[in-house]
């Protein structure tokens, strides 16, 4: 939670009480326009998704055109925003990764969040992940549709 978020919560004790009572997160953004230019609202917090966004998702896309869908056996998919927050803080993004598209087909949920890990201009490898453990629920450890695609990661190598 950012300092601004904490400040808002403390100023509005009713908001804090309601938030904690109902398991809500006191946030600083609900709407796209709540965040300043260049920031994206994720889980109630404005983050710099353009530079430092990575979400653990479960479907990899390789730059050579082949794509691997690996099953995330967590099954329940977890809480998307929570995982997004964790992933952001765990970001290993290097260089400038612009935007990851939506995971399709094999994914149970759309990736609403940029998720590009870039290893550098030499390899140009990009990983795009779909959230929520795409199709892990079939239990065989493989994505139901191994063509689980992240068709356009939007990240450019080099």
């Amino acid at each position: 939670m950012t300092s601004r978020c904490r400040r808002t919560s403390s100023l509005l004790s009713l908001s804090f009480i309601l938030a904690t009572s109902f398991g809500c997160t006191p946030g600083e953004c609900l709407r796209v326009s709540d965040c300043d230019n260049g920031l994206t609202c994720v889980g109630g917090t404005c983050i710099d998704a353009g530079v430092d966004a990575r979400v653990d998702t479960g479907v990899d896309a390789k730059p050579d055109g082949t794509r691997d869908a690996r099953a995330d056996r967590r099954g329940d998919g977890g809480d998307a925003s929570e995982r997004a927050d964790r992933a952001v803080s765990d970001s290993k993004a290097r260089g400038e990764a612009s935007h990851a598209g939506e995971a399709r087909d094999g994914s149970a949920a759309d990736a609403d969040h940029s998720d590009v890990r870039r290893d550098g201009p030499e390899t140009g490898s990009t990983d795009a992940h779909a959230r929520d453990g795409a199709d892990a629920h079939n239990g065989d450890g493989k994505a139901a549709d191994t063509g689980g695609k992240a068709p356009d990661t939007g990240a450019h190598a080099g």
């Binding site: 997160t25 609900l30 889980g43 109630g44 925003s81 609403d112």
Partner: protein
Amino acid sequence: MTHRNAATLVFIAALLAARSASAQQYVLGGSAELASGLAGGGPNGGVLERARTRLRLAVDFRVDEFPKDIVAVGILAELEPHASFGLDVRYVRSLSRKIDVNAGGIGIFFPESLIGPSCGLHYHLTLSRTVDLVVGPEIDVFVVGSDLLNNSIVWQGLLQAGVHVDL
């Protein structure tokens, strides 16, 4: 001229004659209100924050023969922490001299869009024959618009206070 056209003309003439023969008058009112409160929703429905402070300038119309049925149109300006502008249209039903309820639609159109239903209540504190202080709650639910995250829903509960004048 066909029978249908003739019947249409007679119907229109009857409407115009009835209006001109009646003593109906439109009564106008104006109001200015400030509002703020709580907003929630979001992609997982689990975020709560302070709603934007909003200024609403509105005009309302009613026919003197049906003073309890009122139509109001308002201009909305969300002032802080971020600015935006929009409109609302409401049907207002006066329950008594002091209380009215309303329902309608609300839309924010700049810089991003938000559209949804709205309802509220006003309590009138009479200051003079034509001027009232008004206070009351309002609930808005935004279900469509570019300002929503991933097709989520955002709601806000506001407490508004202001002044209403019969013009």
